[in-house]
């Protein structure tokens, strides 16, 4: 009987450990997963880190807020990779151009915060021009126009994240549109293929 109970305890422990490990793996997967439709946006840093960003938290024309997506069901913030870091601003909806208009939620627009040039964090803001600026090599991007490059060495626009308003709250409407991050230039310049 005692033996049986010990076995059961061991089995339970093993199951519990396995369960915890699986939960940890699930959690890590969720934190690393790319932003998904239905995710909320939360502050990435500062005193309100982890809190949901409301449209009223973003002043028109103010410097970008750094954010991460969050699964609203599990409350898990997808901060497992910096490739999920977002920059969010609120601009004049009347000034939005092209597809940016359909991607915005009441003037709030979100983009990948990883520069397309060499992967730095796009954290600076030019208040007069209302452009994002990368502090590493001074590439500038226009948030009202698909974050297209308006100056500097970046080769292409920042990946855009479509948003929508659901009951007045900001919600991610779909996956990134465009490539997140940068690509090493040159491809395979010597015409050979690496061994597989």
């Amino acid at each position: 009987m005692i033996l049986k109970r010990r076995c059961m305890l061991r089995a339970c422990c093993a199951l519990a450990v396995a369960g915890a490990a699986a939960a940890r793996a699930d959690d890590a997967d969720e934190a690393h997963a790319a932003p998904q439709a239905g995710d909320a946006l939360v502050f990435a840093y500062g005193a309100r880190a982890g809190e949901v960003i409301a449209p009223t938290d973003l002043a028109f024309g103010a410097k970008q807020t750094l954010a991460f997506p969050m699964n609203p069901a599990t409350k898990r913030v997808r901060d497992g990779t910096r490739l999920n870091q977002l920059i969010v601003v609120r601009v004049d909806p009347a000034g939005l151009r092209g597809e940016t208009s359909t991607r915005s939620a009441g003037g709030v627009v979100a983009y990948s915060g990883v520069c397309s040039h060499t992967g730095c964090d796009v954290t600076d803001w030019l208040p007069d021009a209302r452009h994002f600026k990368c502090p590493c090599h001074e590439s500038e991007f226009d948030p009202s126009d698909a974050a297209r490059v308006v100056a500097g060495p970046a080769p292409w626009q920042l990946a855009a994240l479509p948003l929508k308003l659901v009951d007045g709250a900001i919600s991610i409407a779909g996956p990134f549109e465009g490539k997140v991050g940068f690509a090493q230039p040159g491809g395979d310049p010597f015409g050979a293929r690496p061994p597989v």
Partner: protein
């Protein structure tokens, strides 16, 4: 959730990618290779260029003299090779008995037959997808034994078989996600591969580490910021030492008689000094590290509590200088702070000798005659809420491009930039975010001195008299590392007009120029094979040279276009 097998396959694939991929021409890879010994590094053959500055004293000088001031006008390209990538090509072509090794941005190593230009092998490193490459460049390999060593942008050292390019070992120096990265050529000496870390603008704590050349295992590690309780820790308030910067950007010099290496250190972070009151040791300094133990045995801080982003990145040149009838074993450093420093090194430590400005400098009001400690004009010292203009600009009188010294002329050759000032102000708020920019300062456009006819300069200084011998001026800024030769010829590129130039070492007269594919910020070298002297350099504009030019363009209202793309150029005298 991913299937277990898929996870394992992904892990293997990731490992494979992280290790990099080497592609070589098998038929050529078995060629003879001359092992690089300590004896050879201490006294390299005249025809070889075995390390970053050719010799441990960092002179950037070659005793080759077939190319002279009289015949250099006959220099022509004999072979070129595209590197296949862009950004700043800053590495010297390093040559060992006919085999040339160059590194490029994104941590590619190319091995060539130095005479024919045939590609022997290449190593390509694939960067992690989440890396930040603030300085996409690499400054060259170190050679030791039968291996080739490179420090990488993802903060590793990789050792390659010199014959094949195959990876012998790889060693993680730090976590790149914490803002650490490396761009310098390693220093190889006495069985060790020594490297320092960059990332001062990202809240790192700088250090130099020595790895065993055979295995890659760490032998010693010395921080450039003391921990609480260590000497110098009193110069940092609170926890600021943990994220204080003091990076090590550039290869150190080595004095084999003292068994001591000398390294330059970068500035503290955040950038304005009012955020971290104190001297902030050992930022903006030269530090002396024992090659066997790494013990920091001496230092000299060029300037304290930096607020100008004046990293003192370059290692000092080890030059004997006469002063008052006495031979001084000197440490010579044309500083980013715009002063030319002469210090004395000995077993007792480092002593200040003298210093004077070599470009316009409006910050230092005086130097202590005994210690060299500067006093500041606070009007020109940026702080939170205080936007200050200062000269030289944040890129300094001389940034990383190395100066050279010729024992033939006794001149030090400085690639300088003058007539430039910058504005900076500390931001109201700065929050440390791991791996991200931690400068806490806003810099604005440059101010070019009104009426200035030039920015770039190649300066020659007579170190025995302490006087400037000549200055060659360039309208463009100058980002050209300097090569000095016994033939009385000085080589450098560095200007936005894409020229590679030769100058008379004695007079500064331009003797020859050749227009290349891009701007040259590569370190030029020279070598000899079968009685022919070659001069080699990489052309490939980018990184800080590009950034400075953009600001100058804005200040001047110009739009200077310098095409990117790397090419290795090798020149020799036209056959007669």
């Amino acid at each position: 959730m991913l299937d277990h097998k898929v996870r394992r396959a992904l892990a293997l694939l990731t490992l494979f990618v992280m290790l990099g991929v080497t592609v070589g021409a098998a038929a050529q890879s078995a060629r003879d290779y001359s092992a690089v010994t300590d004896a050879r590094l201490l006294a390299p053959e005249a025809g070889n260029w075995l390390m970053y500055r050719r010799t441990y004293d960092s002179w950037g000088y070659s005793p080759l003299a077939r190319i002279t001031a009289r015949n250099v006008a006959d220099l022509v390209p004999v072979w070129t090779a595209s590197t296949g990538t862009t950004e700043g090509h800053q590495a010297p072509p390093i040559v060992n008995d006919g085999v040339m090794f160059v590194t490029t941005p994104f941590n590619q190593v190319l091995a060539f037959d130095a005479k024919s230009g045939d590609l022997l092998w290449r190593y390509r490193r694939q960067m992690p997808a989440d890396i930040r490459m603030g300085h996409p460049t690499n400054r060259g390999v170190a050679l030791y034994g039968d291996k080739v060593y490179m420090a990488t942008s993802d903060a590793k050292v990789v050792a390659l078989d010199a014959r094949t390019g195959n990876v012998a070992w790889e060693s993680t120096v730090e976590d790149y996600n914490g803002g650490y990265y490396m761009t310098l050529a390693p220093l190889a000496a006495r069985g060790k591969i020594m490297v320092g870390v960059s990332g001062g603008e990202r809240g790192i704590r700088g250090f130099v580490v020595a790895l065993d050349a055979q295995t890659g295992k760490q032998v010693w590690k010395t921080y450039t910021i003391p921990a609480p309780g260590e000497p110098g820790s009193e110069t940092w308030p609170g926890d600021s030492w943990k994220t204080g910067g003091a990076p090590v950007w550039i290869t150190g010099s080595f004095d084999p008689a003292l068994n001591m290496t000398y390294w330059g250190t970068g500035n503290p972070g955040p950038w304005t000094g009012d955020r971290r009151p104190g001297d902030n040791l050992y930022t903006n300094s030269v530090v002396a590290l024992d090659v066997e133990t790494g013990k920091l045995s001496a230092h000299h801080q060029y300037h304290w509590n930096d607020s100008w982003d004046w990293d003192e990145v370059s290692a000092p040149l080890l030059i004997d200088v006469q002063r008052n009838g006495r031979t001084i074993h000197g440490l010579v450093h044309p500083g980013r702070d715009g002063y030319l420093w002469l210090l004395e090194r000995s077993a007792q430590g480092i002593a200040f000798v003298d210093a004077k400005p070599y470009v316009t400098q409006n910050v230092f009001t005086k130097l202590d005659p005994k210690t060299g400690r500067p006093e500041y004009d606070l009007a020109h010292k940026p702080a939170v809420g205080h936007r200050a203009t200062y000269c030289p600009s944040l890129w300094g009188g001389k940034d990383w491009p190395p100066a050279a010294y010729s024992p033939k002329t006794g001149y030090l050759y400085i690639p300088a930039n003058d007539n430039l000032c910058a504005e900076m102000e500390g931001d109201d708020e700065v929050e440390y975010r791991r791996g991200q920019q931690f400068t806490g300062a806003t810099t604005t456009d440059f101010r070019v001195t009104a009426g200035a006819d030039h920015i770039g300069e190649l300066q020659a200084w007579n170190l025995q008299t302490g006087e400037r011998a000549w200055t060659h001026k360039f309208e463009s800024p100058n980002w050209g590392p300097v090569l000095a030769t016994a033939g009385g010829v000085i080589f450098e590129g560095g200007t936005s007009d894409r020229y590679f130039r030769a100058f008379d070492a004695a007079t500064g007269k331009e003797l020859w120029r050749y227009r290349t594919n891009s701007g040259i910020t590569g370190v030029p070298t020279t070598f000899e094979i079968d009685g022919v002297q070659y001069v080699a350099v990489q052309s490939g504009w980018g990184v800080d040279a590009q950034g400075m030019l953009a600001r100058i363009d804005r200040a001047r209202g110009t739009d200077t276009i310098v095409p990117q793309g790397g090419v290795v150029w090798v020149f020799a005298l036209r056959a007669k």
